[in-house]
Amino acid sequence: MLKLTGTTNITLNINGEKRPVTVRPSETLLGILRGKLGLTGAKPGCLNGDCGACTVMIDGKPMKSCLMLGVEAPGKKIQTVEGLNGTPIQRSFIEHFAFQCGYCTPGFIMNCQSLIDTNPNAPDEIIEEWLKSNICRCTGYEEIEKAIKSVLRDK
């Protein structure tokens, strides 16, 4: 049985790197990524699971890192936007003008990447179901829809 009664050392597997970090059990993964590991790509937008700006991937699935304790994460494969580079979805977001201020973008991209990985033939309803998890306040979502569809449909 795992017992963590105070500040503890844990090791997180992030973007293929083992990252030891000292945490308190009540700290969220988002807080640890940003405050202790310098991975500020995941953004705080609501700390309440409502906006999706902090989305990362846990074992391939999209996860709002504000809804997960750091101590739940050891043993799992964590991917953050910093671990993606030059992927089709990133290029597609650029080409389709799928962001303006860019604050929601890492969260959207991680959610999209997970969708592409796990559901490459996702029909429109599934795309909508997944992408409803993130809020973008700048675009009217049209460009984001085009960006994800162009990657999924190109496959």
């Binding site: 650029i94 201020c101 909508e128 409803k132």
Partner: protein, 772 residues
């Protein structure tokens, strides 16, 4: 043209898709402290006592700021204590700040601060506020320090009154054969920038104050902090990195003041403050509410003759930008129509609500909702097609605005062409309402829009251009990159002027008030005009310097020279010339003599002919130009359930000149989406005590993926002569007519006039059935 109009990808795009783009709260340093606010739980209450004793005991707490009387703040009336003393006037008002070693310690201690409140009677709407019997939000409004021309009415909740008196209103009513008069209203709501506000402050031992902030107005932060706290203005240095959305909300100066006070409380150490979403919604400034009475009249033929308007702007507990917002309501108090007789009273009214910041469109979407709804009601009374009524009255060059500016093609664009195009695109002729089956109908609603920017006459913008050794150039402007892509557009403009590739123009993204020339504020769709003109002036200045040097080397007249592809050459013999790299850091002759030096281009711009408004009539020139447009919303409405889907939203906007096609399109569709959210779902919901019941994104819901309509956008290009390449503002117009067009489509669909936002199914149901 090779750069203008092209969908050039924004300069910071790669950073934004890789998580490398940095926003204010992404910066941290070892030893940094963290500030956390305590906010009021009441709408209006006297503060009996603030007990910080438990909070002080929490290990890691370095300071608690509470109960101290700081100078009053506020843009036009100094009515707001940065931290509440004596009483709180809205739910969310800051009552204390805790500074501690970590965010969680600060938050923990903040929860241990006990404020003893005695609730006071609440002013819960502007309509209640102007009643004689209303409790006073500010007991001594007349005693506050204020700007010239601002006139709060003593012993009342009225913070300011703007008058528009155009023509002779009595004559207007005499000429009117058909009139309508209605009351409209909507509560305050919010911007919901995805990045909540954040500010980091440090006071150096020499007194220099460094502020890093997610602001649309870093130069105002400097100016206002200096004015409020009597600090030498040069000692304040404000740094703004990328900003995660603003929409006007980050043009107000609020959290920066708190960060400064927090740093001061710990001897100047670095203190970071970041709003949680709940605070960003209710504690920091919001989007204004409005209560409006609109009376308009026309002849039997539908020619508008008179408009009498009373606007009560819900200014919340503090006037800050609300006075300016209420003034803007008056300036463009009607839709874009020729109306000879206008009487408008626009009041900024104190209530016990969160107080407003500017919101995309600066009062125009708000006024358009009420005015354009009234236009449809008038059309119905006339039995006239509402599009036809608008076409007949569309404002034209030669007509005058409500503030009596005589318009020309450059200043007002082409409203009739926008109406004509939107008519076509929306297939208006197929009918405003079409029955799908017994249960569903499809219905369209139209709204026309216009917007000028009522910005202060002295607002200016500056740009510096420097060069790199390879002849590429650097563009330094005080425009904040809030998502609009303006800095990329500036690079396109400068590249166009230099006839070079946009990739060879490097742009400094961060704004540092000590190193960046001032751009008044990144608001009001004024980046392309003001910073654009400054950038072109800087380009011209640089080119003149290059020509001067090159003319000596080449032994020709400067005006025989031209630039292109990072070269300067003889117009007649393009092969004879010099590469920029040979000139921009001085030209060196073969024998070693050098002339010139590094080239620094400088340019500025200040709006011309903008005047103050006459206090009695409102006469005056409020701003540089009106961007105009016509918009249609089409809904599918369920007559059984009163629910609806927005099928299409169509905008035809006269933006003068498209500078970056996909960029402009994104600005317009994004604004449309925001406008539909404002019209269709978003508002604060208050209880009887003035408390906001929905201060989270799960209860205050912006439009989400899948809820958006199909967007159809087309541009009309009537040049604004003063503007670079003729471009008009494009960042706000898409929003302006959306609530109105939505309201007009739903009123037709449901067969009942709708007067209030947001247009949720329940309110349509209530209008229709709930009264029975």
């Amino acid at each position: 043209m090779t750069n203008i109009g092209k969908s050039v990808i924004r300069k910071e795009a790669e950073d934004k898709v890789t998580g490398r783009a940095k926003y204010t709260a992404d910066y941290s340093s070892v030893g940094m402290l963290f500030g956390k606010t305590v906010i009021s739980k009441h709408g209006h209450a006297r503060i009996n006592n603030i007990d910080v004793s438990e909070a002080e005991k929490v290990p890691g707490v370095r300071a608690i700021v509470a109960g101290e009387r700081f100078p009053l703040t506020g843009e036009e009336i100094r009515d707001r204590p940065p931290i509440a003393v004596d009483k709180i006037r809205y739910h969310g008002e800051v009552t204390a700040i805790v500074v501690a070693d970590s965010p969680s310690i600060a938050k923990k201690a903040a929860t241990l601060i006990h404020v003893d409140y005695v609730p006071l009677p609440v002013v819960n709407s502007p309509r209640e506020a102007v009643k004689k019997s209303a409790p006073l939000v500010h007991e001594n409004v007349a005693l506050y320090e204020k700007d010239e021309g601002v006139n709060p009415i003593p012993e009342s909740n009225i913070a300011n009154h703007t008058k528009i008196r155009k023509g002779n209103i009595k004559k207007g009513w005499d000429q009117s054969e058909v009139t309508v008069e209605n009351n409209f209203s909507f509560p305050p709501s919010d911007h919901i920038a995805m990045e909540t506000r954040s500010a980091i402050a440090e006071i150096k031992p020499n007194g220099d104050i460094h502020i890093k902030t997610s602001s649309q107005a870093p130069f105002m932060v400097k100016e206002l902090l200096s004015a409020y706290f009597n600090i030498e203005v040069g000692k304040i240095i404000v740094d703004t990195p990328l900003v995660g959305g603003g929409y006007g909300g980050k043009a107000s100066v609020q959290l920066e003041i708190l960060a400064y006070l927090a740093s001061k409380a710990v001897g100047g150490r670095v203190v970071k403050m970041m709003n949680e979403r709940e605070e960003d919604l209710i504690s920091s400034p919001c989007h204004m509410g409005l209560d409006a009475t609109v009376k308009i009249g026309c002849t039997k033929e539908g020619i508008l003759k008179a408009a009498e308007l009373t606007y009560l702007v819900d200014s919340g507990a503090y006037s800050d930008k609300a006075i300016h917002l209420s003034r803007a309501c008056a300036v463009d108090c009607t839709g874009p129509y020729r109306i000879d007789h206008i009487w408008c009273d626009s009041y900024a009214v104190y209530t016990n609500h969160p107080y407003p910041a500017p919101y995309r469109g600066f009062s125009h979407a708000e006024v358009h909702f009420v005015f354009e709804r009234a236009m449809d009601i008038l059309a119905r009374k006339l039995r006239m097609d509402p599009l036809e009524l608008r076409r007949k009255n569309a404002i034209l060059p030669g007509d005058t605005s409500p503030t009596q500016v005589v318009l020309n093609r450059s200043t007002v664009g082409d409203v009739p062409q926008c109406i004509e195009k939107v008519k076509e695109l929306s297939r208006w002729n197929e009918g405003q309402i079409i029955e799908v089956d017994k249960r569903y109908v499809r219905a369209k609603g139209i709204a026309c829009v216009w917007k000028n920017s009522t910005i202060p006459p002295e607002s200016s913008s500056g740009v510096v251009i420097t060069f790199n050794e390879d002849g590429t150039l650097n563009l330094i402007s005080g425009v904040v990159e809030i998502g609009t892509g303006t800095k990329t557009v500036l690079a396109q403009m400068v590249a166009e002027y230099f006839r070079m590739d946009t990739n060879d123009v490097y742009v400094r993204m961060n704004v540092d008030t000590q190193a960046t020339p001032e751009h008044w504020k990144t608001v009001a769709s004024r980046g392309t005009l003001m910073a654009g003109r400054a950038a072109l002036a800087a380009a011209e200045d640089a080119i003149n310097q290059i020509k001067d040097i090159a003319s000596r080397v080449l032994k020709v007249r400067p005006d025989d020279l031209e630039v292109g592809n990072r070269r300067i050459f003889l117009r007649e013999e393009p092969n004879r010339g010099l590469d920029f790299k040979e000139v921009v850091y001085g030209y060196t002759y073969p024998e070693g003599n050098a002339i010139g030096g590094q080239i620094i281009g400088r340019g500025n711009y200040i709006l011309r002919n903008v005047t103050h408004l006459d206090p009695e009539t409102g006469k005056g020139n409020p701003g540089p130009e009106w961007a105009v447009g016509a918009q249609v919303v089409e809904v599918e409405f369920d007559r059984r359930d009163y629910t609806y889907r927005i099928l299409k939203a169509i905008s035809v906007l006269d933006i003068g000149k498209v500078l970056n096609y996909k960029g402009a399109l994104g600005q317009v569709t994004g604004a449309m989406c925001m406008g539909l959210g404002f019209g269709g779902r978003e508002s604060f919901i208050f209880d009887q005590q003035g408390r906001v019941l929905n201060p989270q994104l799960r209860t205050y819901r912006p439009v989400q993926f899948g809820e958006q309509p199909e967007y159809i956008v087309e541009f009309v290009e009537t040049p604004h002569i003063d503007a670079p390449f003729g471009a008009r503002g494009a960042g706000e117009q898409g929003l302006l007519g959306m609530p109105a067009a939505l309201g007009n489509s739903l009123s037709v669909a449901a067969g009942v006039e709708l007067f209030h936002l947001p247009l949720i199914p329940e309110s349509i149901w209530a209008e229709k059935e709930g009264r029975e």
